[in-house]
Point group: C2
Chain length 241, copies 2
DNA sequence: CGGCGTGTTTAGGCTCGCCTAACTTAGGGT
DNA sequence: ACCCTAAGTTAGGCGAGCCTAAACACGCCG
């Protein structure tokens, strides 16, 4: 009798995402926004997984509507995929902010912890943490925190390596993934919000001399290229009020 | 040549426990300490899993030295198993305390959240939370928090259902698993540390009249049997100092 | 002492994520 | 225009955890 009372094509209850799936979507999102597209091997490298595994997962995610996949031609997140990715990124960054701001974690150790917790924490927990922090808009590394409804304001920062000599800048952002670099930056007193000036640039891609506060320090070009900066006190454009 | 350079019998690197394994050990520990032993079907029910699955997992855990298993006769935790279980229980109870004490969770919702987080949180996170709480010894439901080196002080409390009429008692503990009961207890103002007196006990297993603070409330015998109490102000025995 | 029911275990199978090895495809170089 | 390589995909397999169905052991009761 009852033949097709409810067929599965109208999005069945939609199971909660597993941790690996969240990781794939997050990685693909980040690769897409960093380099426009995400290749199978990029994703494989980012997740420390064999390329064949990525192919398999991408097929699944495409079947579930999280991305569009043309074999041999790459994949692109759909709206649903992007929303899912941003949700995970929001959780990650709020967790990082909480660990650093409330629990006193050093900023080089928040990433790994958040990576685990982002898959386990409930929405309620995340929102309580956000509230305890006063709803921050950037995480401890300067990365913007997506809103709960899935939007991010990505600012286009310039690398300290390109910033003109002599002009003061505000340290704005650095990747959260390289713990050793973060320890080094903490050591020389460079964190988001710190004012920094390039005093001198040695030729042939040599070290830069920076003024941070009252101290002068020399850093290699690899470090400088990782540090993103902005113009100081970007005074609010006088529009509202 | 190199024949048995390192054989696997001397505890190989010992992989970190998976979430299901932690759940099994915790459940077995709790059943053992509540009723002396844990049967296959008890565990199956506690974990909402088929009995056959328990048999399989128990075999694995026995092979890894976490418990001794005599087929058809039941299983018993080894020292290693007990230590692992207590580690998970410690994490669970610290998480519950933190969620309730610092993040303002109502006590009926901390259990589920802690259940997820206990498998994801690092030791460092747990210890930072414990420190933020001032190293509590009991969780919000009155359950003792095992120490990091794997010992618990289980106090033998009496049920409020058995407590003599007219003698004041201190509410000491209640299970964290029944959210509806917890909401009800919060509602009538009964939480660990609250003073409570049984004013009257209706015959034939009828409701009890309690005095809590200045209010009198009637509770069913099922509720009373779940609430564990202790003698008030158990003044420290005058030994040290 | 034998049968029987409850509870446990075995047998066989499934999904999810991952792997390696073998293949196909796209697209640049000659 | 063709070939060759690098990248991507398919094929086949594995372990962890779970399931159902069928076989089996224990111990109680007649």
């Amino acid at each position: 009798m009852i033949v097709s009372a409810d067929r599965p094509s109208v999005t069945p209850p939609l199971p909660p995402l597993t941790a690996p799936v969240e990781d794939y979507l997050k990685a693909i999102y980040e690769l897409e926004s960093r380099q426009g597209s995400a290749t199978t091997s990029d994703v494989a490298e980012a997740l420390a997984v064999a390329p064949a595994s990525v192919t398999g997962m991408v097929r699944r995610l495409a079947a579930q509507g999280y991305l569009d996949h043309v074999p041999y031609r790459g994949a692109q997140l759909t709206d649903a995929g992007r929303r899912a990715a941003l949700r995970t990124i929001r959780r990650h960054r709020i967790l990082e902010s909480y660990l650093s701001g409330i629990l006193g974690y050093p900023w080089d150790r928040v990433h790994d912890e958040a990576e685990q917790l982002e898959h386990a924490a409930s929405d309620e927990l995340i929102e309580r943490m956000a509230a305890a922090l006063g709803f921050p808009t950037v995480d401890p590394h300067g990365a913007p925190i997506p809103t709960a409804d899935g939007t991010v304001e990505e600012r286009a920062h310039r690398s300290l390596a390109d910033w003109p000599t002599g002009e003061p800048a505000l340290m704005a952002r650095v990747s959260d993934k390289d713990a050793a670099l973060l320890r080094y930056l903490a050591d020389i007193g460079l964190q988001p919000g710190t004012e920094v000036t390039v005093l001198h640039r040695a030729p042939f891609d040599g070290p830069l001399t920076l003024r941070i506060g009252t101290a002068d320090v020399m850093v290699g070009p690899r470090v400088a290229s990782q540090v993103l900066v902005a113009a100081p006190t970007p005074l609010r454009p006088p529009d509202a009020c």
